[in-house]
Symmetry: C2
Subunit: 190 residues, 2 copies
Amino acid sequence: MEVILSTGLNGFSLREVARRAGVSHAAPGYHFGDVRGLLTAVAIEGFQTLNDELVRSAAGIDDPIERLKAVGRGYVRVAIEHPAHCEVMFRDDVIAADDANLAEVGFAAYMVLEDTVATIAERYNSELPVRDVARLCWSTMQGLVELQSKFVSLDLMLARSSTSLDENVERFTDLIISGLLYRPEMMPLT
Amino acid sequence: MEVILSTGLNGFSLREVARRAGVSHAAPGYHFGDVRGLLTAVAIEGFQTLNDELVRSAAGIDDPIERLKAVGRGYVRVAIEHPAHCEVMFRDDVIAADDANLAEVGFAAYMVLEDTVATIAERYNSELPVRDVARLCWSTMQGLVELQSKFVSLDLMLARSSTSLDENVERFTDLIISGLLYRPEMMPLT
DNA sequence: GATTGATCGTGACAGTGTCAAGTGAAATGA
DNA sequence: TCATTTCACTTGACACTGTCACGATCAATC
């Protein structure tokens, strides 16, 4: 994590890892087989903490809409507190995307989200396309985390005050949730 | 683009580019100054075509909601037709994210989206937070493009038939648009 | 007490980005 | 017209990288 944070994933190198660990230059390669293997292990660890955090965020909140908001906040909390992990987790070009363990723990994390959406459907709107909504939420969070820095520089160009990641999460989830409550018969298009 | 597509951004190398161009190994470095410089040029080209495509997608469509849908479709069309460019455009670790030309053309592309949302606000819902909605849309599209492959393997695990990128765009935009039409007084949260 | 397996260290190889120096042709200026 | 400068490279070198084969050490096991 140190190496990823200081040099970026780009300048990451097994030999630098070895240097900081005080071992020979080939030792990391022996353990993880590969640079890909090492980064895959990092990604798995990342998904594990994501899963833990989402479960913890959702726990004890009865209203599923509030629970969805909490899950969203949990997602960006992981992004903020574990930036090195998150830089790796979705980078299929540097990890073994077909690794079984990776798929399993990623699946678990996703399911926390889908379950929450399913409860919203039960309680508020039975016509809700659960799977689509869950993926919409995930895509939005992921895109937000990735684009946040662009948004900041965009605000700079427009001389507008910029919005923090946390605040953007709140706004985005509110906007999405509005959509979950909408039914066509409520209001025709003009 | 050839090199990026065949070896991935990970295995990308100036020397391979030089080989395919039939020039000496240092020639690309001379032209672009740097591997970062070359990839920044690619990103600028990518944002330029994105901007062109979004403008073309939006042109001639009167209803702003239909226009927003068209812009969304345009976004993923660029992602599909120019995968090499898109792999670079948002990778701030390998490009010069503070490049002035890059910021300018990226800004232009974003503004097509924000203008469309502004028109929706004018016509349908004056209380719409235009900036937030525009960024919600962009984040969602970006996240979707990035996560699509994960969604496919997720469907595989769940033994569900998977959804194409185009279809996901349709569904996501529909869900977002529902939210844009929603007003709290329409339906209380019971 | 010999063997085996794991955990490394060492050295080598091909490949990489980048830099300094050289090279030849085209453009420029007198 | 001819010297000079600029441009677009080429060449060669350096430090760095991942990965591999080969040894060395050492604890556990038979």
